[in-house]
Every structure is written in structure tokens, then in C-alpha cells.
């Protein structure tokens, strides 16, 4: 383990001089005399350590290059330096540092072609090396892109969320209005997304489409387009502030349904999961402004949610774990003449997900989630239950996936999910079985 501050020195230019550099060269000459001839040249300097915090933006640096064979060439940051080849070469360079972190790469090559390269990291006066290196660890100013796709054929046992309950309600056996023989339907589920990052900025866009086979279920076809962007600004080595904006357009059936604008500020914290892997906790707020297409019936609304999100990946990068706690409000903007909104509810949610990932081969996913949705005014079928005087839904979902990764861009995946909505208004059971291909670039 290497100490972070090891090798960092504060330079007093007045202390060091060419004479001391020469003294170094003389001391090193003894070592040189016994060095094997196939060694590359030694590179010595008294002004720079591998990591150096300056006292001034300007610094004169004296280098000494020593080799049993003649030093034939010296380069600094790729630029060839004017030297006189010899066993010992002295070189003085004046630097003016204008960036918080500067790397000085010095290479020396002897006449036999042996080359040694040393990189010195130099920090301007007042710069915290810890913070500067953390910031430097962010994506560079270069543009990078990513993408992903997921194509699945699925069988949905209950697209309409038709009533169905393993237990009777007030003595009534609930079966709903859609005959069981006509309830199930197949559907095609397409998803794709792309994004770019540049420095602390990011942008992304994507689309998804669910299409049911039966014409009678076409009202449940969903098309979504979304695009957005944001930034991630490090605060220190373990903390960062993130802010994202997402625009979403949703069509249901063949009709416009809504457009939404989501602002998502969040605080991210690096967490040690204790197994040698890495973890990130995120504490976020989502503000979603919904603008519905059917103005005569639905009014624009604003949903809020608070999330605590944690993701980790093990040391070998084979297992990932994800959990989310959330609290929020939701509404479809339905305003009745008495001022109530039967679609408005608050919710608490909890979900967990595990993925086992080999570099290639078997893929295993498992998930578990539940929510507690308390409606503000929607009435239940009966108030004579422990769930209270207004509608309460408690959807619970278990899901699993099994697949095979041929390469990261091509994975075959079978999925299964079971959803049971425990409710005093709308109990139902729904299963979705699917198989498809997905990948990431």
C-alpha cells in the first residue's frame, strides 16, 4: 500500500542549485559504474519528486542523465531536447505551470536504444493533490459514447390488470370482467438508448415500445421517447453532486398521453461494501412535471419523490447488488367537479436486485420489490378492512432472469416476473414471461 503523500515535496527553489544536481550526478556515477550495460539511463533531479506541490508557478529544473553507454537523446513531454551526448548529461529547463495538475514526462535513451521514462506530477501552489487527482479521475474532456438495447418477446397474463384475487371479498369471488381464456396476450418489448459523456457533462436519449398482439389490447401499447442530460460535479474524493434533466414523451395506444420534465438533483457517496469491491450510495430528489394531452380531463401535475439508491459491484466484477428506498407522490391529474383527484396517492417503495455476471457465459438475475400506495380520495370496495377508509394498493413483485452472455454486446436472456397487487379496490395477479436479446456498448 502506498501512502498518498509519499513522494510529494514542497520545493524551495533557492535551496537547490545546479551544484547539488552535479553532486547527485557524482553520487550516482558510482552506481552507474556497476550498472549492467543494458540498463536504460538514470534520470535524476533534485527539484521534482514524483509528486510535487509548487511554491511558485515558475520553476527551473535541473536534470542529470547518466548511463554506462552514452545518453543519446532526451525528450521532455515528447519534445526532443538539445543535448551533447555523453555518459553524463546535464540539462536545465524553465517551466511555467498554468494548470492545477501538470505531468512532466521525461525520457532518456542511450546509444543502444535503451529508454527510461519518468513522469513527474506537479501541482500548482495551493492545490490539494487529493482533490485535484480525484477531479482528474473524472472522464476527460474527450467525448465518449455508450449505448444499449433490449429486445424481448413476452407473454403477459393480464395486460388490463383485470381483477383477480386468491381470496373472496365480502363473499364475492372476484374474477374481473375479462374472461380468463381471453386475458393473456403476447407482446413485443423494444428498448434502446444512447448517450455521450464529456468531462463532467452527459447526455442521453432513448426510446421504448411495447406492442400487444391483440387488437383489443392496443390501448395498452406504449411508446416512450426520452432525452436528457446533466452533470456530475465532484465535491471531494468520496462525494459528488449530480444533476440531471429528462424530457419524456409517452403515447398510449395511438394517442398522445403526456410529456414530462424531470429534474433530478442527487448526492452521491462512495461506499466500501466490505468485500473489496466498490459501492455508490445516492440520495436524490425527483421533481416530475407532467403535462397531459387530454386537457379537458387531466390537469398538469407535479410529482415528487425522494430516493435512497445503493449499487455495488464485487471485487471480481461478477456480482452486482442494487437496492432502492423511495417515498413520493403520484397523480394522473384527474380533477373531478368536487375538487378531488382519485388518481392521487403517496407511496413508499422498496426494491432489491441482484445480478451475477461472468465475463461470458451464465447470467443470473433476481429481483424483489414492493410499494405501499395510499390514495388520497379514491374509495375502496369496502372500508371494513385493515387498509383504511381510502384505497390502498400494495403491489409486490418477484422477478428472475436466466441467460447467457456471448459477449457484452450480445446476451440471450429469459425473464419471469410475478406481480400481486394486494388492494382494497383493485386486487389482481399478473405474470410476464419473456425471452430476448440485450447488450451494451
Amino acid at each position: 500500500m502506498v501512502r498518498f503523500n509519499e513522494g510529494i515535496s514542497t520545493v524551495n527553489m533557492r535551496v537547490w542549485s545546479v551544484l547539488i544536481a552535479v553532486a547527485f550526478s557524482l553520487a550516482a556515477s558510482g552506481a552507474w559504474a556497476q550498472a549492467p550495460s543494458n540498463d536504460p539511463p538514470e534520470i535524476l533531479t533534485s527539484e521534482l519528486a514524483l509528486k510535487t506541490v509548487l511554491e511558485s508557478d515558475k520553476l527551473d529544473v535541473n536534470f542529470v542523465f547518466i548511463d554506462q553507454d552514452k545518453v543519446a537523446e532526451v525528450k521532455i513531454n515528447g519534445e526532443k531536447q538539445p543535448i551533447t551526448p555523453g555518459d553524463t548529461v546535464l540539462l536545465t529547463r524553465s517551466f511555467t505551470f498554468t494548470q492545477d495538475v501538470t505531468r512532466v514526462e521525461v525520457s532518456a535513451t542511450d546509444e543502444k536504444g535503451h529508454t527510461r521514462t519518468v513522469t513527474y506530477t506537479v501541482f500548482r501552489p495551493g492545490v490539494d493533490p487529493d482533490k485535484a487527482l480525484a477531479q482528474e479521475g473524472q472522464p476527460s474532456g474527450e467525448l465518449a459514447w455508450f449505448g444499449g438495447y433490449d429486445v424481448r418477446s413476452e407473454q403477459d397474463s393480464n395486460p388490463t390488470n383485470d381483477l383477480s384475487s386468491p381470496i373472496s371479498i365480502k363473499g364475492v369471488n372476484v374474477t374481473g370482467v375479462v374472461p380468463d381464456s381471453r386475458q393473456s396476450d403476447s407482446r413485443l418489448n423494444l428498448n434502446g438508448s444512447v448517450g455521450v459523456t464529456k468531462g463532467m457533462w452527459n447526455g442521453f436519449a432513448g426510446a421504448s415500445k411495447i406492442t400487444y398482439s391483440k387488437k383489443e389490447n392496443e390501448n395498452f401499447n406504449v411508446q416512450q421517447l426520452y432525452l436528457g442530460g446533466g452533470l456530475t460535479k465532484p465535491i471531494n474524493d468520496t462525494l459528488a453532486f449530480a444533476f440531471n434533466y429528462t424530457f419524456t414523451d409517452v403515447n398510449l395506444g395511438s394517442h398522445d398521453y403526456l410529456q414530462s420534465h424531470t429534474l433530478s438533483p442527487a448526492l452521491r457517496r462512495a461506499v466500501d461494501p466490505g468485500d473489496g469491491g466498490t459501492g455508490v450510495s445516492q440520495y436524490g430528489l425527483n421533481v416530475v412535471r407532467k403535462q397531459f394531452a387530454l386537457k379537458a380531463f387531466q390537469q398538469d401535475t407535479t410529482d415528487l419523490s425522494l430516493t435512497m439508491d445503493y449499487r455495488s459491484i464485487d471485487k471480481e466484477k461478477q456480482d452486482t447488488y442494487h437496492r432502492v428506498f423511495e417515498y413520493g407522490t403520484s397523480s394522473e391529474g384527474i380533477k373531478l367537479s368536487d375538487g378531488t383527484d382519485p388518481s392521487e396517492y403517496t407511496y413508499y417503495g422498496l426494491s432489491f436486485g441482484w445480478n451475477n455476471r461472468w465475463d461470458s457465459g451464465l447470467l443470473v438475475d433476481a429481483g424483489l420489490g414492493t410499494q405501499y400506495r395510499k390514495y388520497k380520495s379514491d374509495k375502496p370496495l369496502t372500508t371494513d378492512t385493515p387498509l383504511g377508509a381510502t384505497r390502498v394498493d400494495i403491489p409486490m413483485q418477484v422477478s428472475a432472469g436466466l441467460g447467457w452472455q456471448f459477449r457484452p454486446q450480445l446476451r440471450l436472456m429469459g425473464t419471469y416476473s410475478y406481480l400481486f397487487n394486494l388492494s382494497n379496490k383493485s386486487p389482481f395477479v399478473r405474470q410476464i414471461i419473456g425471452v430476448g436479446l440485450n447488450g451494451a456498448f
Partner: protein
């Protein structure tokens, strides 16, 4: 002891990369996760009906309380009932065009259809100018449905549909056609809904539920 930042894996970098992924790749790769996968709420598939008291509307729900001795209607149930039975025993599913078509022979079948259609029925208090009822409409996969109105002699607007007893309804009626999702959601349905007494005696005269001879 702190590690050299350059040597230590920085999970925040992964987190920042996730920021870029944001809603994008996470949506794509969510298979197997515990997130919910239900359809968006079909909020655009609800239906609005204006009942008695609505000013400026042309689709009143009307009843004549005089026939029952001026017993007032305190609340109404309005909504959709998916009809799955043949009301006249012919095997053909037809809409109820008159409340008198509800007979002892088909009353239980109609009640069963009403029980299974509870998601599409709403209880509303009658008060002042409160005039509109909103309810979700059944999915097309359910088949034909009718708009129904039921006048209740008690205020059950704070109760659930399962708490309506056999003595609560005093009027009921149908819009005499099957409807579907082509009826423009969010607009007031134009046809009147005329309610007739829930119970009649063997001679056809209106009586209160619970009274002897209620058919």
C-alpha cells in the same frame, strides 16, 4: 492509511458513469430487477357523466321521487357494467333498454356482472351543483358494457360498493346502448339516463326495497 488516489478504484467514477447512463441504460437493462413493470395508468380512458343538478349540461340523470312518496336520493352509483349474459335467455347478449327488463330470472346474472365490474362503478354524493361523475371504462377485451345509474336512499359516498345492501337502491336505469372506448373520454356523455324504481309490486307499482312483493 490512505491509498494513492490514482491506484485506488474510485467507485464514484462508476457512479458518475451511471449518471450518464441515467434513465437510459438502466431502463434497458432493468430485466430481473425488482422494479414494477405494469402499464401506465390508462388515465385517458376514463369517462365523464353529468347527472341531475348539472347546470348547462344536456345529459341529466333523472328520477321521479314522487312515485316513492318523496323519499330523496342521497347518493348515486354511476359507472359501467360489462354485460356477459343474455337478458332474455336467447343466448344473444343485448343491452338493457328498459329497467323493466330486469326480471327475477336475470337479476342474479346482472348482479354478478355488477360485482365483477366494481372497478368501473363509483358512488357519489348528491349535493348542490356537484354534477359530474368520472369512472374508468372497461378494457375492450371485456366485451360490451352499459352505462348504469343507481339511486341510493342513504349517503354511502364514504363507503365502498361492497357495503351497499339490498335495501339501499331505490332507483336504477341504463343508457340503452352498448358503449366502447370510441366514446370520447373526458367529454360529457350526451344521452339522458332516466332512472326507474328499483322495486315494483306484481302489479307494476313502485315499492320500496325490503317491502313484501319487491320484484
Amino acid at each position: 492509511m490512505r491509498q494513492n488516489a490514482a491506484d485506488r478504484p474510485n467507485p464514484l467514477r462508476k457512479g458518475m458513469y451511471l449518471a450518464a447512463l441515467g434513465a437510459a441504460v438502466l431502463l434497458v437493462l432493468a430485466g430481473g430487477c425488482g422494479q414494477f413493470n405494469d402499464n401506465p395508468s390508462p388515465g385517458g380512458m376514463s369517462f365523464t357523466y353529468a347527472f341531475q343538478g348539472a347546470s348547462g349540461t344536456s345529459s341529466p340523470m333523472a328520477w321521479d321521487t314522487n312515485v316513492l312518496g318523496n323519499i330523496p336520493v342521497k347518493s348515486v352509483v354511476v359507472g359501467a357494467i360489462v354485460i356477459t349474459h343474455s337478458r332474455d335467455g336467447s343466448g344473444v347478449i343485448k343491452p338493457y333498454t328498459d329497467a323493466n327488463q330486469v326480471t327475477p330470472a336475470n337479476r342474479d346474472l346482472l348482479q354478478t356482472d355488477a360485482e365483477q365490474s366494481v372497478n368501473f362503478l363509483e358512488i357519489n354524493l348528491i349535493s348542490g351543483d356537484t354534477a359530474e361523475v368520472e369512472f374508468p371504462i372497461p378494457p375492450n377485451a371485456a366485451g360490451p358494457w352499459q352505462l348504469v345509474g343507481i339511486g341510493l336512499k342513504n349517503d354511502l359516498s364514504d363507503k365502498g360498493l361492497a357495503e351497499i345492501t339490498t335495501v339501499d337502491p331505490i332507483f336504477y336505469g341504463f343508457v340503452d346502448e352498448f358503449l366502447n372506448d370510441k366514446v370520447v373520454p373526458g367529454t360529457v356523455y350526451p344521452s339522458a339516463l332516466v332512472l326507474k324504481p328499483w322495486c315494483t309490486n306484481p302489479n307494476g307499482g313502485p315499492i320500496l326495497p325490503g317491502q313484501a312483493g319487491c320484484l
